[in-house]
């Protein structure tokens, strides 16, 4: 079974035309991969569709802006994948 990270990495590679082999679980979507907020909307759209969830981007952004969270918590891909797993689990609960 394909891992959440692999699916997310494939989405990012295809959406942003980034070589798949440069995307690792440690990659920061913004700082390492250079994905800006507008491109991230396309990624969020693809993730929402692929996993049947709704990434809470507004809440995450607000938390970062308020200093309650760091971008690493949401945009390092291993962490993003974990968040997606949580959202999928919550949806199925």
């Amino acid at each position: 079974m394909t891992s959440t990270f692999d699916r997310v990495a494939t989405i990012i590679a295809e959406t942003c035309d980034i070589p798949r082999d440069t995307i690792t679980p440690e990659s920061h979507a913004i700082d390492d991969l250079g994905i800006d907020s507008l491109d991230f909307l396309d990624i969020a759209f693809a993730i929402d569709k692929a996993f049947g969830i709704k990434l809470p981007l507004e809440r995450w952004t607000q938390e970062v802006n308020d200093g309650k969270a760091t971008t690493e918590q949401y945009f390092v891909l291993s962490n993003l994948s974990a968040r997606i797993d949580e959202l999928v689990a919550a949806k199925g609960a």
């Binding site: 507008l38 909307l41 969020a44 759209f45 929402d48 709704k54 990434l55 809470p56 981007l57 507004e58």
Partner: protein
């Protein structure tokens, strides 16, 4: 339409919150300073204004769905196709529907029909935020009344 003021929609003909669709009417004016430059002796509705018309149509749908609490701003245009020339005096019908509602953003698809034929279409992305100030909210209230935005959808907000 009043091109100089970016009023690109004349009337909301149909708005369905259940179907998440909207249809509006927009009549291209016979005269406009825009046509003096685009193009001399061969007036055509600029493609960017047709895209804006699709964006405004989508925007009113989003405002209705968000109960007049948030303002959508155009963020991306994809697959925009200008299929035919649109000329002064044409009566356009523009429809829009939701492709995806994300967190803080929405994607729509929109079509412009003229004379029963598809003239333009595009896929649009909007970011939306709470109305940034009372002035803009007030302006949108005035515009809503002008184009026949359903009272029910306004009072729900």
């Amino acid at each position: 339409m009043n091109l100089e003021y970016f009023h690109l929609i004349d009337r909301i003909a149909r708005l369905s919150l259940d179907d998440r669709t909207i249809t509006v009417e927009a009549n291209v004016p016979e005269q406009s300073t825009i046509f003096e430059g685009h193009f001399p002796g061969y007036p055509l509705m600029p493609g960017v204004l047709l895209i804006e018309a699709m964006a405004q149509t989508s925007g009113w749908l989003l405002i209705a769905l968000m109960k007049f609490q948030r303002m959508p701003f155009l963020a991306a245009v994809k697959e925009a196709k200008m299929r035919t020339f649109v000329t002064p005096g044409e009566k356009l019908t523009i429809d829009a529907s939701i492709i995806h509602e994300g967190s803080g953003f929405t994607m729509t698809k929109a079509n412009i029909m003229s004379g029963g034929k598809l003239a333009c279409n595009a896929t649009l992305t909007f970011r939306h935020v709470p109305f940034p100030n009372p002035e803009l909210r007030g302006y949108m209230d005035v515009m809503a009344k002008r184009i026949g935005f359903p009272e029910q959808a306004m009072t729900d907000g």
